[in-house]
Symmetry: C2
Subunit: 185 residues, 2 copies
Amino acid sequence: MSVRSLCLAILSFGDATGYEIRKESTEGRFSYFEDASFGSIYPALARLEAEGMVTVREEPQAGKPARKVYSITEAGRTEFINSLCEPQAADTFKSPFLLIALNAAQLPPGVIRRALERRKAQVQEELRLLTSCEEGQECSHPGSSWTRDYGLACMNFTLAYLEEHGDALIKIAEDAARPLPAAAE
Amino acid sequence: MSVRSLCLAILSFGDATGYEIRKESTEGRFSYFEDASFGSIYPALARLEAEGMVTVREEPQAGKPARKVYSITEAGRTEFINSLCEPQAADTFKSPFLLIALNAAQLPPGVIRRALERRKAQVQEELRLLTSCEEGQECSHPGSSWTRDYGLACMNFTLAYLEEHGDALIKIAEDAARPLPAAAE
DNA sequence: CGTGACATGTAACGCGTTACATGATTAA
DNA sequence: TTAATCATGTAACGCGTTACATGTCACG
């Protein structure tokens, strides 16, 4: 999915500025789909406006540059919905953590421990994010709840698995670190 | 993770040709880390050779171009292990499927059904891949088993969740498709 | 007889990231 | 006072993809 579609997706849930879109795409609910940086969002927004997919309204602020609040138009909404109807790319999961796990026997136990802790912290953070959006805002939206529950279930499962089987992974590294266990008479 | 590291990672598990590396990175065990195409793999391999991280041995074949089998060197192995020791990027999950789920109420039920079936098929395929590697080859490697079991557990959970809650998602789309249910007296 | 797997490689192109440019306000 | 948050935007650069170029063999 391109940054263009990401902008349309986020704006279909409500008006936003470029700055806010970036936040949602890196930290918020939309981090599941794509994370984009300013350098791609601002040009994409400008292009979408030129094409009539969004409109802008400028809100001047003292000191800061004016907030440019974007709204999706009917044309934009139509394009977005249509794009969802045609076949999507497959889901992907990229895990530097699993690469470390795969090579556990070749790595110092400390590295494994840190990687495990880091991964757990990441999952907990995502969990926190998911539950925090439960209370606030416009989360009464039906698709939102389903998606949130799905994410919650997967994250909880992952966390439990890591908690239960993490030690086994550390043990792999520890066993390999002592290269001559048979020599221990 | 760059294509460079991917090549090193795969070669650290055994010799391979560029063609095989590409297969492993798109279909095989290493699809968790990065998927690369020929256009990036061949140049990366050439560079790695120039830097002494890998060596090549050419195996001429009748008709086909000679297989160029790459082996990792000590220097390459060291670089790879060192790269794993320093902080890695966070794991990412990108899901076009969840974007469809999020917008279930705005989409035709048929689209939701297809997306669900597609996602389930994908998970089943990954499951099949994971179990097939269980039997064959050099999977007695300890990190491999842990990683495989982790993948298996997550995929099984995901599949079960989709099977159990998929209907609820379809219902969201169906309910929204009939826009005036209150009018049904 | 055509499609797909095997097998390597280059060149053009696109997309997105990083770094830069600017600047006020607020919390530690 | 120093870092972080808010706020927009551009330009250079890197990395990877897509398409091209070439050719054999096996299977249906």
